[in-house]
């Protein structure tokens, strides 16, 4: 992450004010403000336990949010992520119960993720189907396969050193060791999206697929890679989920796709494509995680919790649109005034 930072600082030249007021930056100010507020208001919130429990809760969402950000920026979507994680978990359970070496099992799990992603990718890019339709299909398909693989069983006896490792913390900081892997992933996805021609191509695709093709971007291949990456990261999340709860079951991580997409949108990634950032998405995930955690610590019912999450999401999607609309209204009114009253408009530039 610090490497990224120094590169970016070196490349940065101007427009500091605008960057500090970008959507991603605003999200981070909000996250910090909420953290400070909750530390003051909620008893017991400001503790290393919070860091540990909170991050363990958000890690799977955080991981999948990274490739999801890139996918949504290209104006596509992947709803099959949670099912891929569930399928991975099921495969992991069955292979381990069958006596295979655990590291070989993990490798196969990652391959399962790759294949699941590649399947989505082929259907979307080569066959040319809309990603929404394809991944609704694979959402059901992969979950179904998970049921076929492991059935009603649960496998729980994973090697203790691995399950302990998955929930272990870095010293006394309370931060899970697994966060190191997540930070590396964040750095990779941030660099790819914001500092490479490939990443710029993704924004271009999101704005206009035709224009992107016209300037020589291989839209199909780029999208294929994105879906493969999403599958791979989803299987990593599935492995983490299985180890964290030390339970491999077919219903693991179900419903996670909506949590991921909600967080990504809250982080300022436009569902219409072409706009968004990795830091923003990370802030979105943390925001939802922090608020949920604090409400739970206060023993506020989950009913309230989902209402809060839903309201936040609506506000984050509707907010910018209203802002945009108000700007347009003001602009139209000014144009209208200038046209109907040219005498007055001649003096207006000065004011």
């Amino acid at each position: 992450m610090s490497e990224v930072l120094s590169q970016e600082v070196a490349a940065g030249r101007s427009g500091a004010a605008r960057v500090m007021t970008s959507r991603g930056a605003i999200m981070w100010y909000l996250v910090l403000a909420v953290l400070v507020l909750l530390s003051l208001v909620v008893p017991g919130f400001a503790s290393p336990r919070t860091a540990g429990f909170l991050l363990l809760d958000v890690i799977p969402i955080l991981m999948i949010a990274l490739p999801m950000t890139l996918v949504i920026i290209t104006a596509e979507i992947d709803l099959s992520v949670a099912s891929t994680a569930g399928l991975t978990s099921a495969v992991m359970g069955v292979l381990w119960a069958g006596g295979m070496n655990i590291y070989l099992v993990l490798l196969i799990c990652l391959i399962v993720g790759l294949l699941a992603g590649a399947f989505n990718g082929i259907m979307i890019t080569a066959v040319g189907l809309p990603s929404l339709a394809v991944t609704i299909g694979t959402l059901a398909l992969f979950r179904g396969l998970a049921l076929v693989v492991i059935g009603d069983n649960a496998v729980a006896n994973f090697p203790r050193e691995l399950t302990t490792w998955a929930t272990s913390k870095i010293g006394a900081t309370g931060i899970p060791v697994f966060m190191v892997i997540v930070l590396v992933l964040i750095a990779i996805f941030a660099v790819v999206l914001h500092l490479t021609p490939f990443g710029r191509g993704l924004f271009a695709m999101g704005f206009s697929k035709e224009a992107a093709e016209f300037v020589g971007i291989d839209v199909g291949r780029s999208k294929f890679y994105l879906f493969v990456a999403t599958g791979l990261v989803s299987s990593m999340a599935g492995i983490f989920w299985t180890l964290r709860y030390s339970s491999a079951r077919s219903d693991n991580a179900s419903g996670l796709e909506l949590a991921v997409i909600a967080a990504v949108l809250l982080g300022g990634v436009s569902i219409f494509g072409g706009r968004g950032s990795v830091p923003g998405a990370v802030a979105g995930v943390l925001m939802i995680g922090i608020i949920n955690y604090a409400l739970r610590l206060q023993r506020i019912s989950d009913v309230v919790l989902i209402i809060v999450t839903g309201t936040l999401l609506i506000a984050s999607v509707v907010g910018p649109s209203i802002f945009e609309w108000m700007r347009k209204v003001r602009h139209d009114r000014r144009v209208h005034r200038d046209l109907t009253n040219p005498a007055k408009s001649s003096t207006s530039p000065a004011s």
């Binding site: 490349a11 940065g12 030249r13 930056a25 017991g44 809760d57 399950t163 931060i175 023993r299």
Partner: protein, 354 residues
């Protein structure tokens, strides 16, 4: 323009990284004041500050509400200063873990839990125990190594047998039956089903009864309703359904009462009298079974108190007093039994209100 946008992104990333560092710092610095981290939640907690938290499989489940009502009464009678109920909206395997974590952090003295998955909750419960909390499982057990005690309503085998007995009476001892359960991984459901299958196979009285299907309504009303509908379509010769879950039996009864199978296909299982009253009176259901769920919560609260007082440790042979319900003894594997199941039919259902 492109430069500007680039610069914006760069600064956003800078801000993000700084913020992440701050987040990490913010979480780590104020370590000292956290009350829960100090291990204050030990068995020597003064009576005035004692807290107990119930974590059911899911909230907004009528059966659970009755259990929790009994739990509240029990917690008050046992002298807990605070009793809380927290839990997930969905009965999925790992959904309870973050609630256990929050209780650990809040320094709760006794956690009473009905596990959705016996193993998934284990690491979190172990962490809570390290922090000094006593763990009582109720309704649905966790892995025995991560709780102090399991309060079971009834002997699992009795519950299974009474349901088989009732269905056999109603279908005249022969024909096809099906089971409509809750989630496929529910510990209690699967134990009952196992005993039912064994009884059907081994008891010569039931040799003409054939179990043709097991379906799962996930304790979701709509899904259970659809599964009941599906059963009737898939097995036209079906003579009876056992639904050992209150959500399942109510949904199935609702489907049957409006269909041509009303009164022809027998339905029994575990139901709440208040939910089943209408179906018993209109002839959809003749007889079903259950215990008084409120007693479950009540006994669990007193078990928690005894563990906290240190008057028992949860090993076999330990005894504790469960308020008005008298003395209970801990059996093998740290299991405490509350009482035998009751049969409900049109003659006695009006005597019960839960």
């Amino acid at each position: 323009m492109a430069l500007m946008r680039n610069a914006r992104r760069i600064l956003a990333a800078t801000a993000a990284t700084t913020a992440l560092a701050l987040l990490a710092a913010g979480c780590t610095t104020p370590a000292a004041p956290a009350p829960s981290a100090s291990g204050a939640a030990s068995s020597s907690a003064p009576a005035a500050d004692r807290s107990i938290t119930f974590i059911p499989k899911q909230l907004n489940n009528p059966y659970t509400d009755v259990v929790l009502g009994g739990g509240k009464t029990g917690a008050q009678a046992a002298g807990f200063a605070k009793s809380n109920v927290v839990g997930p909206l969905e009965a999925s395997a790992s959904s309870q873990v973050s609630f256990i974590n929050a209780e650990t952090q809040a320094g709760t003295n006794v956690i009473v839990i009905a596990a959705n998955d016996p193993d998934a909750v284990c690491p979190a419960l172990e962490e809570a125990r390290t922090g000094g909390a006593k763990i009582v499982a109720f309704d649905s057990d966790t892995n025995p190594k991560c709780r102090d005690l399991f309060v079971s309503q009834v002997v699992a085998k009795d519950v299974a047998l009474i349901q088989v007995e009732i269905i056999s009476e109603q279908i005249g001892g022969s024909g096809e039956i099906a089971i409509l359960s809750a989630t496929a991984n529910a510990t209690n459901q699967n134990e009952w089903i196992k005993f039912m299958e064994a009884e059907l196979k081994d008891n010569p009285k039931y040799k003409d009864i054939k179990l043709v299907a097991k379906v799962y309504g996930d304790d979701d009303d709509t899904k259970s309703f659809q599964e009941a509908q599906g059963l009737m379509q898939a097995y036209p010769n079906l003579k009876g359904i056992i639904s050992p879950t209150t959500v399942g039996i109510a949904a199935t009864a609702r489907y049957l009462s409006k269909s041509k199978y009303k009164g022809k296909v027998a339905l029994t299982g575990l139901g709440l009298p208040n939910e089943m009253r209408a179906f018993v009176k209109d002839g959809t259901v003749t007889e079903f079974a259950l215990w008084d769920p409120a007693q479950l919560g009540y006994v669990a609260a007193f078990a928690g108190k005894a563990l906290l007082d240190g008057t028992m440790t949860g090993k076999e042979g330990d005894k504790f007093t469960a308020g008005d319900m008298g003395e209970r003894t801990v059996g093998a594997n740290g299991v405490v039994i509350v009482g035998p199941p009751t049969r409900f039919n049109k003659d006695n259902i009006d005597k019960y209100n839960f």
